[in-house]
């Protein structure tokens, strides 16, 4: 109970940190409506969860950043206790005021585009070995290139703007002014269809990441209370074949538990079936010499929320045993973004 209370305290701190971000949702005021939620294409894996080793998908790649994403993790380990965790991901480039002159600049400036597609992540989970302690993770991930980035598609602007352009009878005479939010007939469907068609075409993507995990003793954050910090670096590559089936490859190098450095190599096959993204993966862990299979389903439950469920084997948490454990994880990814005023 004591550990759970401390977890709740730290999670509340993360939520407060989220609220303090410049781009974070705030309480509704005057004409600002309740926040609308978006999830227009893949919400990426939280880099901080990757650092903590609790990411449902071990073979991770990049996708477009989102302003702020909250990941809620529950995990059930066979023969072990159940843990819970929370990760807060955000895009620092836009949250702290970064801008582009136009879409052409996004395409031309590789540095700014990569900064815009960089995610920073903070996470915490209960320490399964000691409920008085908390494990934390910080991480960052950059999408180096992504052929499926909708902003790289030159046909999309013309299609969107043809739908945005008002019909002749929508603008009458009279000196009047005003602003608001309009629902554009066919825009969401056209956008979705175009993005789907882009994602189904052959293409490549590469993302790189870094993460650091550690333990906060007694859940009190101070310089002396942080122990066991370990760094991890990774790269993920995605090759999309005709029809949208994806081959993923990932390499992770990190400071291991039982040796100075460990690495993990994984490959995965991924396909989208209706509103479900299915992934099968195989991962080799150098620390244990084991190969671990896994399966992940990402279900778009409602337009703004993904439900992630994964089942796979993993090394024993201590890393010292040759045994593997079957692990079932579920996660809610909630992507919340302000999208306009009414």
């Amino acid at each position: 109970v004591r550990g759970a209370t401390k977890t709740a305290r730290l999670l509340a701190g993360l939520a407060l940190a989220a609220a303090a971000l410049p781009g974070a949702p705030a309480a509704a005021q005057d004409s600002i409506p309740a926040y609308k939620f978006i999830l227009d294409y893949d919400v990426p894996e939280s880099p901080a969860f990757v650092a903590l080793g609790v990411s449902p998908e071990k073979v991770t790649t990049g996708s477009a950043s989102k302003p702020i994403v909250v990941n809620l993790l529950t995990q059930a380990v066979t023969g072990d206790r159940t843990g819970a965790g929370l990760a807060l991901d955000f895009s620092p480039y836009f949250v702290f005021g970064g801008r582009f002159d136009n879409i052409d600049e996004y395409r031309a400036s590789g540095l700014k585009r990569r900064l815009a597609n960089t995610i920073v992540s903070l996470a915490t989970i209960q320490d399964p070995a000691d409920s008085a302690n908390l494990r934390f993770g910080v991480g960052a991930r950059m999408t180096v290139f992504d052929d499926h980035d909708p902003l790289q598609n030159t046909a999309l602007s013309a299609r969107i703007e043809s739908l945005l352009t008002p019909a002749e009878d929508e603008l009458g005479v009279g000196r009047e002014s005003g602003t608001g939010i309009d629902t554009i007939a066919g825009l969401a469907e056209a956008y979705r269809a175009l993005v789907d068609s882009i994602q189904a075409t052959p293409g490549r993507a590469l993302a790189v990441g870094w993460g650091m995990a550690g333990t906060v003793r007694n859940a009190v954050l101070s310089a002396d209370s942080i122990t066991g910090t370990r760094h991890r670096f990774w790269a993920g590559y995605r090759e999309t074949f005709r029809g949208g089936v994806e081959l993923l490859g990932a390499v992770q190098v990190g400071e291991g538990v039982t040796e100075d450095h460990s690495f993990r190599i994984g490959a995965a096959l991924r396909a989208n079936v209706q509103r479900v993204r299915l992934t099968g993966e195989v991962v080799y862990e150098s620390e244990t010499g084991q190969v671990h299979p896994g399966a992940i389903a990402v279900i778009k439950a409602i337009p703004q929320v993904d439900v992630v469920a994964s089942l796979g084997s993993e090394p024993d948490a201590s890393g010292a045993s040759d045994t593997a454990k079957l692990r079932f994880r579920t996660m809610l990814r909630w992507n919340f973004s302000e999208t306009g005023r009414r």
Partner: protein, 132 residues
């Protein structure tokens, strides 16, 4: 808010209306040129595209013939990047390559919806043309 005025020279060159939208926004707009009897004398569309701007030259009327006219617009804007939640949408009138004085400026720095949501930020406004 006070009516917006745009001051142009009667003996200057033709007017050019420019629409801009920055920061990964897409805008589609319709403009009308209305005379002193509230009759629409010209009607055109503008789309900012990937370079974030579009221009339209008013060739039907010499600036000296635009006394009492006003330009009115309806602009719709949405964002193409999930993290780019805001941007600036601006309407300017140029004459002989120089921005005509406009008061107040027709500029909106605004949070806008994601195009993927099927919604867009709408601006309806106008500018009275003042001929010098």
């Amino acid at each position: 808010m006070a009516d917006r005025t745009c001051t142009v020279r009667g003996n200057g060159g033709p007017l050019v209306v420019r629409l801009t939208a920055d920061n990964l926004l897409n805008s589609g707009a319709r403009f009308i040129l209305v005379d002193s009897t509230d009759t629409i004398r010209s009607n055109w569309t503008m789309q900012t595209g990937d370079d974030g701007r579009d221009e339209h030259r008013i060739t039907e009327f010499a600036p000296s013939a635009l006394a009492g006219f006003y330009i009115k617009w309806l602009i719709r804007t949405c964002s193409r990047h999930p993290s780019a939640e805001s941007g600036t949408i601006r309407v300017e009138v140029f004459q002989d390559g120089v921005a005509a004085p406009m008061s107040p400026l027709a500029s909106w720095t605004q949070k806008v919806p994601q195009c993927s949501t099927g919604t867009a930020f709408r601006i309806t406004d106008f500018c009275d043309l003042v001929i010098q």
